[in-house]
Symmetry: C2
Subunit: 132 residues, 2 copies
């Protein structure tokens, strides 16, 4: 693994930790602080479906996650972490209460890293939110 | 890149080519021939939702894709290929006619490679099938 790809992995792992911190606490600043000003976020569905550009839509999306799940959403298994010099993909399952209803899903998140920041975030759903 | 990860990438790229060949022709044998006997496939939704074990469910799934799309489903852009010694993830968009209706989607496919075979296939949807 080259120095670049080691740094990329380290930065993305910090972002993933900040993501799970946000899920557990509703505090998203540590994650948002890692996004570049020209940050882009692709989301699979709902009001944030498609491409969201900039930090403000990202802030709104993550605050919406907390509105829907409270602090119930947890990563239940981290199945694969696959990376190269620029991109790190986390495949995991999560589980919680979505508006009070049981929720579980397979998810993949692909992060592009630039320096010590995240410049892109692409989320993909591997199941329907009701079972793995 | 180590020799192992070079081989892994090469095998997965061949599988991805065979996948697009299947989409374009309805001929899935070249892809199915690359799967191990203990092959597992996770699919996000519909009748194949969740874990499918073995080659026969995979055959049924890909034949079902051809029933739904005919030969209209095409990869419109391959956005990222991210890999390590065992796993290769393709992020792409595709487009076609699903039961005659316009369809387009962001997709991520994660393939685990063993030797010159694919032993696992995990599909994730990055959009709703109506727009990217």
């Amino acid at each position: 693994m080259t120095q670049n790809s080691e740094n990329t992995l380290k930065v993305a792992q910090q972002a993933f930790e900040n993501l799970t911190h946000g899920m557990a606490t509703g505090k998203w600043e540590p994650l948002l602080d890692m996004f570049t000003e020209d940050f882009t976020l692709w989301f699979p569905m709902g009001k944030f479906h498609g491409l969201n550009v900039g930090k403000q839509p990202a802030r709104e999306l993550f605050e919406f996650v907390s509105e829907c799940f409270g602090t119930t959403l947890k990563v239940t298994s981290l199945d694969r972490v696959t990376s190269n010099e620029t991109t790190v993909i986390f495949e995991f399952t999560d589980e919680g209460l979505f508006l009070g209803q049981p929720y579980k899903r397979r998810v993949a998140i692909s992060l592009d890293v630039r320096g010590d920041k995240i410049c892109a975030y692409r989320e993909y759903f591997g199941s329907d939110g009701k079972s793995y």
